[in-house]
Symmetry: C2
Subunit: 381 residues, 2 copies
């Protein structure tokens, strides 16, 4: 046994003849601690890296799906304002977030040939979406669920996306739309279990402020109570609660004794019963209402008696060319007279005109009625 | 139809009222190209990143497996010189490679508390492994297949690991071991389909040089022919081929007409029939052979007649203490007399002595017979 031990000992020793630092199994066992620490560090590193790449991959899948739907079909796809809004969002705020987690500067390596939309384009597309909502009197839920009409389908928006839209309205002081979209965000959040992308308190916080600005003090109080039930130490909510209670008390005093002596607490229970006002702010443009009516109008609304008087004809006006090949005229409206001429320009020529014109598209400018200078009008493209 | 088109047109336009750059579906369709390019760039980026992390994860799995086997079992695990070599390799060359692909400087963030072995430790452990191979006359294949003995099992080495061992021998001019390990690398490569970690030509190149240095010109020629069959334009192989052929021709001329007129071409076919010499280089240390014999010796070889004369006894030498508790003496050898005393120090005390001593372990130094100065000896630990 002893000799075997000696042999074993020599065997261990003899392998480290060159080594200066680590000449024994004792030293190797000490080094094993280095390896254990290293494996822990590497494991943490890998976990973080995979999480990071997972975020990038999720974004990649979103835009690949978008490309698949829009490619070769751009006019139809981007004709849906929800798609257009999401598309601009992906190339602005979402991409800014993803690029921060990508170690290579992809935007830069892509070079200057590739234009990216600006943050202003992003807010612009959101505000445009909301104006459209007013013009066509669209239900917020219908937009958020991708059901504007049977012709315009888009995917359902997430609670976070509804919240983002509400945030944009909020930032520009548009509490009318903030109220709609924060309420929508809240509804979507209830159908998204395990949602961690958006905080319910943040939604409620914006909702409370917007609804108070729209004059719903009781509703604001009820929402604030809801914040406090989730986070009893929420400082602003506590202060606001006192403020709203004070407002309600003053209102009752003004209303006199006739007002019902409503017990406010707990207001949360009555959330469903509160009648929420949400008045669209008065517009400075007088023609707005008629303009929007026109947009909503379609031919099916034309009085059948009037429609019966409209007809199609071949027109030549005795012009020699038109005698040979008369123009196809269709009367669309009598008052004002509105005609549609068919087959004047070939499809090929139309495409060519569009091709030549599209790079020169610019925003329309109008003369300001006050100063007389030309400027871009918010209501025009 | 026309009015619907007007409505559709207004609908598209009205959503981009704020946007300066991208106000039409035409522009959005152009932007789609940006998104397509972005998705391509991101896809390439993700692919590269996943490949990079895959390399790190493979390394992590190797060291985790090593830790699992060695932890709490260090003396036994590192007692196997193959394990010790691989362990040092993982914490040196392999880790250097992995760390280059890790964006965070993990070694630095781990701080100074964690020692890493040096590259010298790595080559030292490899040279030690080869010396052990000589001392115990171990078969290269047995080591490479993890079967040194029934007590010392380790995992099978890859072709790359055999090649790395051969490279270390080659770099230190040790063609005796280069020949063994390159031959072994070649054998392992044949059992590893789709191996891309090591290039067969690289192995053959080293093998040809080593075998020529060991005096096997015919073998060197055959191996060189094999390189040329894989890569007919291999410049060094073409030059070496001419050189080896010249050597063989000269040798025959010296040997005279008695030598068989062997047709050299193609030598490859005769690769199996060539008798390969591999003489261990002469050692400057006279005692080497006896020292190694001693290492290989074990008690079973002791002459039974001599062994019969060895016995155990209680020894007290009339010392009062030892009269009360005599020492347990076991005679191991008669000539020279070698005794083993049992139970002199308790196991606990042994551990304490080892614990105190191990931090002070240093390499043994010997007086140089030539210069008379003290220096570290290669053959001592």
């Amino acid at each position: 046994m002893f000799l075997i031990y000696v042999a074993y000992f020599l065997l261990i020793k003899s392998i480290f003849v060159h080594s200066e630092l680590f000449t024994s199994t004792t030293h190797l066992t000490h080094l094993l601690n280095t390896e254990i620490e290293l494996s822990k560090q590497l494991e943490t590193y890998l976990k973080k890296e995979y999480e990071r790449l997972d975020q990038v991959e999720k974004f990649l899948n979103v835009i690949k799906d978008e490309i698949r739907q829009a490619q070769g079909n751009g006019d139809y796809y981007f004709g849906n304002p929800v798609n257009a809004y999401l598309f601009i969002k992906h190339l602005t705020v979402d991409w800014y977030t993803v690029e921060e987690t990508v170690s290579v500067e992809i935007s830069k390596t892509m070079g200057d040939n590739w234009l990216f939309p600006s943050f202003e384009d992003y807010t612009g597309s959101a505000v445009g979406l909301m104006r459209l909502q007013d013009t066509y009197k669209l239900n917020t839920s219908d937009i958020a669920n991708g059901e504007i009409s049977s012709n315009f389908k888009s995917r359902k928006l997430s609670a976070l996306e509804c919240y983002d839209l509400g945030r944009i309205a909020y930032t520009s002081g548009d509490f009318y739309h903030t109220l709609m979209w924060m309420q929508e965000a809240l509804d979507h959040l209830n159908t998204e279990p395990n949602n961690t992308a958006v905080n319910k308190i943040n939604i409620l916080d914006h909702l409370a402020y917007a609804t108070s600005q729209q004059g719903n003090v009781e509703h604001a109080l009820a929402v604030t109570e809801q914040i406090l039930s989730l986070d009893p130490d929420h400082v602003r909510a506590r202060n606001n609660k006192d403020h709203y209670e004070e407002l309600i008390r003053n209102k009752r005093l003004t209303a006199g004794d006739d007002a019902p002596t409503l017990d406010l607490f707990p207001a949360m229970d009555k959330l469903d019963k509160i009648d929420i006002k949400n008045q669209r702010p008065q517009d400075y443009l007088e023609e707005r209402e008629r303009y929007e009516q026109l947009c909503r109008q379609n031919e099916s609304k034309l009085d059948p008696k009037r429609a019966a008087k409209l007809f199609c004809r071949y027109r030549h006006n005795n012009h020699p060319y038109l005698l040979l090949r008369p123009a196809k005229e269709e009367q669309l409206l009598d008052q004002p007279a509105l005609y549609l001429f068919h087959d004047i320009i070939s499809d090929k020529d139309i495409e060519e005109v569009k091709r030549l014109a599209s790079p020169r598209l610019q925003r329309a400018i109008v003369r300001d009625s006050g100063s007389g200078t030309f400027k871009a009008a918010e209501y025009r493209t």
